[in-house]
Assembly symmetry: C2
Homo-oligomer: 189 residues x 2
């Protein structure tokens, strides 16, 4: 089965409370552009992420607001910042990395929330049934081209809102295969 | 067959002439630390690499001097700089990318020399014979772990000076698999 690749660079999801701490009371994120995932948008707003070793400025916020603040960074970013961020699926934040967010109106010291995103595939129940896959299964994703490679351990997430099938990779994973956003790959069971 | 992984971050190789243009007449590179490859060293000296869009400072020089100046950058770097650098084996520079090198004493405008390194394996003739491989063949390299993956199109280079077997990856390729320098992988024919 073919899957569309969706490539993420470093980004941040924020709670309403943290948006207000960082940008001021009553502040709401503004949309720069819609993303491939339904209802998600890249915001005009960016933040600085700081760790014990360095900081990275201009990190894009992805809206809308969420129930937990989450920072998704690459392995290179994590090393540069000097933080400890585990490989996790989005939303699985217990015991994840600490980092500081700096905005124009305030600062948030997160005890956890920083992760390196674990690659995964959003897929409808119907498409999953075709391949006899269930939520949480791991499959491989095969990319062609000059830097052809096969990603193993790619987690299946049954998702009717973002029925894809759509494979989410971070920018380093994508560059390792010279993949661009929207490219097609093959799911291999 | 097992292979040791050698991970490269962005770096520069320089000719004697360019060392003198960038650092001054009669200048010689100084050794910071030896690298895995025989006779190669990370120099104390760094340069700024500039493209039409941005520049990256602190790019490490790898010595000793070579007969051609070569800039090896990641896909992310190339995009950030705004240059065009093709995927190439080291030394295959005809028609490769243009970029500007800025040193403390001068500047070099390179018409070609910037590449994204093509992954490859240094191996002795004897080990290549065991797997019935010849120079230029492509094999796959399989990594285990949480971000397990298999790199296809990995070029065999028969090399008695660096007999390995040693697989050279750039930092984005390595991070895509959570590989560290010195980790072991499997060569698959």
């Amino acid at each position: 089965m073919k899957v569309t690749v969706n490539v993420s660079n470093r980004h941040i999801h924020l709670t309403k409370e943290h948006i207000e701490t960082l940008f001021g009371s009553g502040y709401a994120l503004t949309e720069q552009k819609k993303l491939m995932q339904p209802h998600q948008f890249a915001a005009n707003e960016t933040l600085t992420v700081a760790g014990p070793r360095n900081e990275v400025s201009g990190v894009r916020i992805v809206g809308p607001e969420r129930t937990q603040t989450q920072i998704e960074m690459t392995v290179s970013d994590v090393r540069y910042l000097g933080i400890k961020a585990p490989l996790r699926l989005s939303g699985d934040l217990e015991g994840s990395g600490a980092a500081v967010l700096k905005g124009p109106k305030g600062t948030v010291e997160l005890k956890e929330g920083a992760i390196v995103a674990k690659r995964h595939i959003h897929i409808s129940q119907k498409d999953a049934d075709v391949m006899n896959l269930k939520d949480g299964d791991a499959v491989s994703v095969k990319m062609g081209g000059e830097r052809a490679l096969t990603y193993e351990n790619t987690v299946i997430r049954i998702d009717e809102k973002n029925a894809g099938p759509e494979c989410h990779l971070d920018i380093e994973e994508a560059n390792a295969a010279l993949i661009k956003n929207g490219d097609k790959a093959d799911i291999i069971k």
